[in-house]
């Protein structure tokens, strides 16, 4: 790695310390190196310059959203993203799903001793760039070093603060019978991109993660007065996991049509090869929206303006009659029906 490829001035003495050691977490001089040469120059802002145990700040509104999430993805870098970018966009997305404008993020690192310092710097640079691109500031942080583990990598925890709209509640409880269910793009990219990279499947061209911040889309929808009842970003449990969770929380039944759910050719092929169901594969830049049926054309027109939402479509409805069993029914390509249930554990490679 050379400094030129970075977006910030990094004076870390990489020749002297090519790897992170336990001493970098000791709180002593080497910890100070990380702070002075990596974190502070990368995240530099006035709030961070307080150099205090905590950051004292004044918020522009007293209605805020707060969320926290930990990032343990392995490998750290994969086609279409990396753990640093994910740590910012993932937390931005959780805030966005409350309709809240993300403004501040805290960032805690747990590093394995033996982690190449260059890798840490690259990840920090990715965090910096993602935060800049999305107008959020890193306002607090922490670093710990732990003994080498099998993964030999790093973990990140981020906590986000966003400004929630004063007069609007977006939540599962707001889902109404008859609402339209919209999906913001094709599904299954992230999970497959990471799995393929981790297991060296050598898909050619590689499947790229959908990793992206969802605030720009949510913001635009709200600015255009779409009455968003509920939003949910699709993460680990995939589309199916999110739908089932929301049916349970809202105590309503949903009906979705398989032929409306976009799956790219390469994700479809990869899933077939590995015996995975794309509806259950992880995403990091997709969401489902519950909105009044009469606003569907307007909402889709707005979403289609974003390059990564070109495949946004209405995939189903909230049943007007709920039979009290909160099921998610999938209409198959053959006009038959099956249910979606939460997946138990991980999807595992199969015998045959």
């Amino acid at each position: 790695m050379n400094n030129q490829s970075l977006s910030f001035e990094c004076a870390f003495p990489i020749e002297n310390y090519p790897f992170i050691t336990m001493a970098h977490g000791s709180g002593g001089r080497l910890t100070q190196h990380l702070l002075d040469y990596i974190f502070r120059p990368a995240f530099s802002n006035l709030l961070l310059e307080q150099q205090h145990d905590g950051t004292v700040l004044t918020l522009p509104s007293n209605r805020i959203a707060i969320t926290t999430d930990s990032y343990v993805v392995h490998p750290l870098f994969f086609p279409g993203g990396n753990i640093g970018e994910l740590a910012i966009t993932g937390t931005i997305n959780d805030l966005s799903m409350c309709g809240a404008k993300p403004i501040y993020i805290t960032c805690a690192f747990i590093l394995n001793e033996g982690l190449p310092s260059a890798t840490l710097i690259q990840v920090v640079d990715a965090i910096r760039q993602s935060a800049l691109a999305n107008n959020v500031q890193i306002i607090a942080g922490d670093t710990k070093v732990v003994e080498k583990s099998a993964f030999g990598g790093l973990y990140i925890n981020t906590t986000g603060i966003g400004i929630a709209p004063a007069d609007l509640t977006i939540s599962p409880q707001m889902i109404q019978k008859g609402d339209a269910i919209i999906l913001s793009g094709d599904v299954g990219r992230h999970g497959l991109a990471v799995l393929a990279q981790r297991e060296n499947f050598g898909f050619n061209p590689p499947i790229r993660s959908d990793c992206a911040a969802l605030w720009p889309m949510v913001n635009k929808l709200l600015e255009n007065e779409i009455s968003v009842h509920c939003l949910r970003d699709l993460t680990r449990g995939g589309l199916a996991g999110a739908l089932v969770e929301l049916a349970n929380t809202s105590q309503l039944s949903f009906e979705v049509a398989q032929n409306k759910i976009a799956v790219s050719q390469e994700v479809h092929a990869g899933c077939e090869l590995l015996g995975l169901d794309p509806l259950y594969v992880a995403n990091e830049g997709r969401m489902i929206l519950f909105i009044p049926a009469n606003q569907v054309p307007k909402a889709l027109a707005i979403l289609h303006e974003f390059p990564n939402c070109k495949a946004a479509a209405q995939i189903g409805v909230v049943n007007s009659q709920s039979h009290g069993n909160n099921e998610v029914i999938l209409k198959t390509h053959f006009n038959s029906e099956r249910i979606l249930v939460p997946f138990s554990g991980e999807q595992l490679p199969r015998i045959c």
């Binding site: 297991e199 050719q265 390469e266 479809h268 092929a269 077939e272 015996g275 039979h323 069993n325 099921e327 029914i329 198959t332 390509h333 053959f334 006009n335 038959s336 029906e337 099956r338 249910i339 249930v341 138990s344 554990g345 991980e346 595992l348 490679p349 199969r350 015998i351 045959c352």
Partner: protein, 365 residues
């Protein structure tokens, strides 16, 4: 890309077969799809909805994970916990309940268990880790057996001394005969598993079809395949015929894959094998030949004593595997028995009938 698949999932072709099946069916027929992969496809694509009420599909024992005996699961757990052992397995096996633990909890407790994608990955692990014993858990039917045989042959060529195989490989035709011989049998026609026949051909089914006067249609796994398999089977039943028919002729040749059969013969003997929930079926398993005994993990590590052979009292997986009960006829289904806390293997295996019902069918159906 994937054109081969789109053709066999074409809604119009499925709708045409739906009409054809309805038009020829005049009586009640019970047809068994042997393979758990077919059971899952039927449930996943909602094919139950497309059949007339008088056709009943009965789900067969073709889930190798489900029929792996507890004693072998216990032995797997025992071996996996030994220090200096890397235990290599397909992901399917991790959640299958043994007498006390499943492999996933043993892994959480520190055992070095690796999920592999091909048996040859385990040979590679043995090469890369000369100071560790690498044990491959060989579970499957005739479909996966050749790849396991290849792994043993490869290890032998490489003179590996730290590689062995714990085998629980089973054969399909003896299981079909076992079902047909049962006084409780209700099955009138079979969909045989297309991938098994791709390896073995369809020869083994001729004497069975003749002896029991039962139609056997070698069938694939896509919706068009299954609907066509059912159509051909019903057509035979309605005309009182009984012969072996090949729906899956884009993959299956009558003689099968002779190279794969040769390597099976070289590495394995046909032996009597216990099937979980069913009992011992004569000449239904593959054991490692004396010539390759040094790669037989059951010889290398010995067998632990079986802790508990009986299934949970509520679990009727044996009856389900023999096609005598449906998963939703089980009192524990979806209550005491779920994928999170399974009482029997068919609830967690990706080819188990209980898992198919739990994952895809409406609770009210």
């Amino acid at each position: 890309m994937m054109k081969y698949q789109a053709e066999y999932r074409a809604p119009l072709r499925v709708a045409t077969l739906e009409k054809k099946i309805k038009s020829i069916t005049t009586r009640n027929w019970k047809i068994m799809e042997i393979c758990g992969g077919q059971t899952h496809a039927i449930a996943k694509f909602g094919l139950f909805d497309l059949l007339p009420d008088n056709i009943e599909l009965i789900h067969g024992p073709g889930c190798p994970v489900c029929v792996t005996p507890k004693v072998i699961l216990d032995q797997a757990a025992h071996i996996a916990q030994l220090p200096h052992v890397i235990f290599a397995t397909f992901g399917d096996m991790l959640r299958i309940p043994g007498s006390t633990h499943d492999l996933l909890s043993i892994k959480a407790l520190g055992a070095d268990i690796r999920i592999i994608y091909s048996p040859l990955d385990a040979v590679q692990l043995a090469q890369q880790n000369p100071n560790m014993e690498v044990v491959l858990f060989a579970v499957g039917f005739e479909t996966t057996a050749p790849a396991h045989a290849m792994a043993i042959k490869q290890a032998s060529l490489l003179n590996l001394t730290n590689f062995s195989v714990l085998s629980s490989l089973v054969l399909v035709p003896p299981a079909i005969e076992f079902i047909l011989q049962s006084p409780l049998n209700q099955v009138q026609g079979f969909l045989a598993a297309g991938h098994v026949c791709t390896i073995m051909g369809d020869k083994a089914y001729f004497p069975i079809s003749e002896r029991f006067h039962v139609p056997i249609v070698v069938t694939g796994f896509e919706p068009v395949d299954i609907m066509q398999g059912i159509y051909l089977c019903v057509k035979q039943l309605e005309s009182k015929s009984a012969f072996v028919e090949n729906q899956y002729n884009r993959c299956v040749r009558s003689q099968g894959n002779v190279h794969a059969q040769a390597i099976l013969q070289e590495v394995f003997d046909i032996i009597d094998m216990p099937w979980r929930g069913i009992g011992t079926i004569a000449q239904s398993g593959l054991g490692i030949k004396q010539k390759y005994a040094t790669f037989d993990a059951s010889k290398r590590f010995g067998m632990p004593s079986l802790l508990k052979d009986s299934e949970n009292a509520l679990c009727i997986s044996g009856l389900i595997l023999q096609g005598q009960k449906k998963p939703n006829e089980c009192k524990a289904f979806g209550n005491q028995c779920t994928p999170e806390s399974p009482l029997g293997a068919p609830m967690v295996s990706s080819e188990g009938a209980c898992s198919a019902y739990y994952r895809y069918l409406r609770k009210s159906s």
